[in-house]
């Protein structure tokens, strides 16, 4: 019986001292969590999958009809949606690559002892602790062509970062890099400090060059954790909404999440929005899966 298998609670634990059994703990903690997860996560997920095959619109009282794959067909043949995906892909590549380079670079610089290291590390972490909407509004001011400090410092004159259709997306990506590089830096620092010091010492004895040490010792040992940072940031970048939404309304910077929001909550095209959400979900799952496969390979080495 399942309950028999569950009774090996550590007799020294506080739960055991209170006379709780594994069964009590299961009933008190695990079941409510599961119920919560099912009600607020799994159930809507399945329900919205059902909606994605209908022409249901949340603002209409008319009965909805089952339309089969029509929503998916329409979405996948819609040029606007494809351009949104291309924009999102560009954004993900630029912003995640930027974050990996800046974040890992900062971690390499911080991975030694120097005065006030703790304070500097904490200060560098500040951007990622702010609300994305606040960061967006704040950078909108920084980019302002009339009084923004960025154009002043770089002597760019009237260059309108966010109103120029060619630069708007990259301006948002730069903001995202500023905000999330610290996250990559933090993970990389954890990875770097776990590299055994004796390996470096051995390399030094062999007079290995800096580059050789970096590519043969540092990178291979840090790469699993870097890949985890990469997975997190790719998933997040794919879903970016807040920063981009607050900063610009350029169609050339309309990420897929913004399109989805407009379709779902401004036009109330609920069925089609569910379908689009599923397409996005499948894409994120596919990309994440590729990474995870690669991660497992790296770990095996």
């Amino acid at each position: 019986m399942a309950s028999v298998a569950l009774t090996n609670l550590d007799p020294a634990s506080r739960a055991a001292a209170r006379g709780w059994s594994d069964l009590t703990i299961r009933n008190m903690f695990i079941i409510p969590t599961l119920v919560f997860l099912i009600v607020f996560n799994i159930f809507p997920l399945i329900y919205s999958l059902g909606y994605s095959f209908t022409n249901f619109a949340a603002n209409r009282s008319e009965p909805w009809q089952f339309v089969g794959l029509q929503n998916y067909r329409e979405l996948l043949s819609d040029d606007h949606i494809w351009s949104n995906f291309v924009i999102t892909a560009k954004y993900v590549i630029v912003s995640v690559a930027g974050q990996m380079i800046v974040g890992f670079g900062l971690a390499l610089l911080l991975n030694r002892s120097f005065p006030m290291k703790g304070l500097i590390t904490t200060l560098l972490l500040l951007p990622m602790m702010m609300s994305a909407a606040v960061v967006g509004l704040f950078w909108q001011l920084l980019y302002s062509p009339s009084w923004g400090p960025i154009n002043y410092v770089f002597g760019l004159g009237d260059f309108a970062w966010l109103s120029n259709p060619d630069s708007a997306l990259y301006a948002v990506a730069i903001t995202d890099i500023w905000m999330w590089s610290p996250f990559v830096m933090l993970l990389s620092l954890a990875g770097l400090s776990a590299v055994p010091q004796h390996l470096y010492e051995a390399a030094a004895i062999d007079r290995a060059s800096w580059w050789y040490t970096f590519t043969r010792i540092t990178l291979p040992l840090v790469s699993p954790i870097l890949l985890i940072a990469l997975i997190f940031r790719t998933m997040e970048a794919f879903k970016t909404f807040d920063i981009a939404y607050t900063m610009t309304t350029q169609p050339t910077a309309e990420l897929i999440a913004i399109r989805l929001y407009k379709q779902a909550f401004q036009q109330w095209d609920t069925g089609k929005s569910c379908a689009l959400a599923y397409i996005v979900l499948i894409m994120v799952l596919a990309i994440t899966n590729l990474y995870v496969k690669y991660l497992n390979k790296v770990k095996e080495r």
Binding site: L162, Y245, Q266
Partner: protein, 438 residues
């Protein structure tokens, strides 16, 4: 122990019971509106109603970008959080056909509101479908696109002379879009950090559409036939194309980075001394005559939207009517409130507080027209307004327009004809999808 628990529970129960009985005696009404000055004026106005009747009325607000989303989320859930809502004119279609609004036709006829309120406000804030004689809202806040300008720049003798020499006519308030364009070009001096004109370009809701449609209407174009849903040949007619071209032309003379601008930015263009002229809804003009919020308050003037080349003159309508939410539990109480609201004294007080009344009697009075520097322009405008589509699918139609005109106006991609041809095709597809062509 058990006794204590029982008595505590009994105590809580008693407190709850008393609480609910007290609430039942206290009548309360909640009005939902967007967060802006007129909502504060309305709260001041309804405090009088509370004093008279003892019914507490609260005006609940939310920022503009969330207004539509929040209201419709509540409607769609059939929630009773709001008893009345001061909704945008475009919501009438969805509000009436989806059963969110209470039918006010009887109330309208009983109080002969057709003669009380300005005709345009009834047509666009209250009636749906157009010409059906069915009414869903009481016009509450009249509003339309108007312009503010720098009187000191316009009246400077040196500027006047230079302008006359360059364009061959006197520098004055523009009577046509062509003159508006010339003046914008004349004052556009980026090296002096002075710019010609501030217009709406935000495409996240209806800002840019309101600016563009004002130009299209004055150029003699239309968005479509609202009765038959015919759009091809109307929204992409040569008049409409000329209107959109003019809007694009004006964009050339805006301050730098003018790609996501709505009422806040357009007012800043004046308060920051950036632009010679600035487009805005009348409801946003009060801060411009206040010394505390506008250092140029003394030298800021106002004018109504100019005419097109054929003398046709229109402006995009803003403003809202107040509707009773059909899911409210206090509908009778809400109707009583509306009866009080349409009284002449109430409307007069509403105008004095800063609300834009739609009452003809108040609008026509000398006292109203001279109360502020912009009331006269407002009065002129309210008799020449036109509105956007009010069909239930207006949000989709609006988004399609935004997607097609924004890249042209701000991004400089393609031509006005291409943008509007694409709009006509998109709209036709949408109206076909909703079975509008029967």
């Amino acid at each position: 122990m058990r006794k204590i628990v029982t008595s505590v529970i009994a105590g809580i129960g008693l407190a709850l019971a008393c609480g609910t009985s007290v609430r039942a005696q206290d009548k309360e009404l909640t009005i939902f509106w967007a967060e802006w000055d007129p909502a504060n004026y309305l709260q001041e106005l309804v405090n009088d109603y509370t004093a008279e009747t003892g019914v507490k009325v609260t005006v609940q607000t939310t920022p503009w970008p969330d207004f539509q989303t929040k209201a419709f989320t509540e409607f769609n859930a059939h929630g009773d959080a709001y008893d009345m809502v001061v909704g945008d004119s475009q919501w009438l279609g969805a509000g009436s056909t989806q059963g969110h609004y209470v039918d006010l036709t009887d109330f309208f006829n009983q109080h002969k509101l057709g003669d009380v309120m300005a005709p345009a406000t009834i047509k666009y804030y209250a009636e749906y479908p157009g010409g059906s004689g069915k009414y869903w809202a009481i016009p509450l806040e009249g509003d339309a696109i108007g312009w503010s300008y720098r009187k000191d720049w316009f009246e400077d003798p040196k500027e006047k002379e230079a302008f006359k020499a360059k364009y061959g006519y006197d520098l004055d308030i523009p009577k046509t879009y062509a003159q508006l364009r010339d003046i914008a070009e004349f004052f556009h001096r980026p090296d002096q950090k002075r710019y010609g004109v501030a217009i709406y370009t935000d495409n996240s809701y209806d800002a840019m559409a309101m600016g563009v449609e004002s130009a299209i209407f004055s150029y003699g174009g239309d968005l479509g036939d609202y009765a038959t849903y015919k759009v091809d040949g109307i929204i992409n007619s040569k008049e409409a194309v000329a209107g959109l071209d003019m809007y694009k032309e004006l964009y050339k003379f805006t301050p730098p980075g003018w790609g996501k601008t709505f009422f806040v930015e357009d007012n800043q263009a004046i308060t920051g001394g950036l632009a010679a002229m600035s487009m805005n809804f009348f409801a946003f003009f009060p801060p411009l005559v206040n010394k505390a919020t506008n250092p140029y308050a003394d030298v800021t003037g106002f004018f109504a939207n100019p005419a097109g080349p054929d003398g046709k003159r229109f402006a995009a309508l803003g403003g809202q009517g107040i509707s009773v939410v059909s899911y409210s539990k206090n509908k009778d109480e809400a109707m009583k409130f509306l009866e009080w609201f349409i009284k002449d004294e109430t409307q007069k007080k509403w105008a004095e507080l800063g609300g834009y009344t739609c009452s003809q009697a108040v609008l026509k009075s000398e006292a109203f027209q001279n109360a502020t520097p912009y009331n006269k322009a407002f009065y002129d405008t309210m008799f020449m307004v036109k509105d956007f589509w009010a069909t239930p699918e207006y949000a989709e139609v609006l988004d399609q327009l935004n997607q097609n005109i924004y890249p042209f106006v701000v991004g400089g991609k393609g031509t006005a004809q291409e943008a509007l041809d694409k709009t006509a095709a998109d709209w036709k597809a949408t109206f076909t999808k909703y079975n509008r062509y029967k």
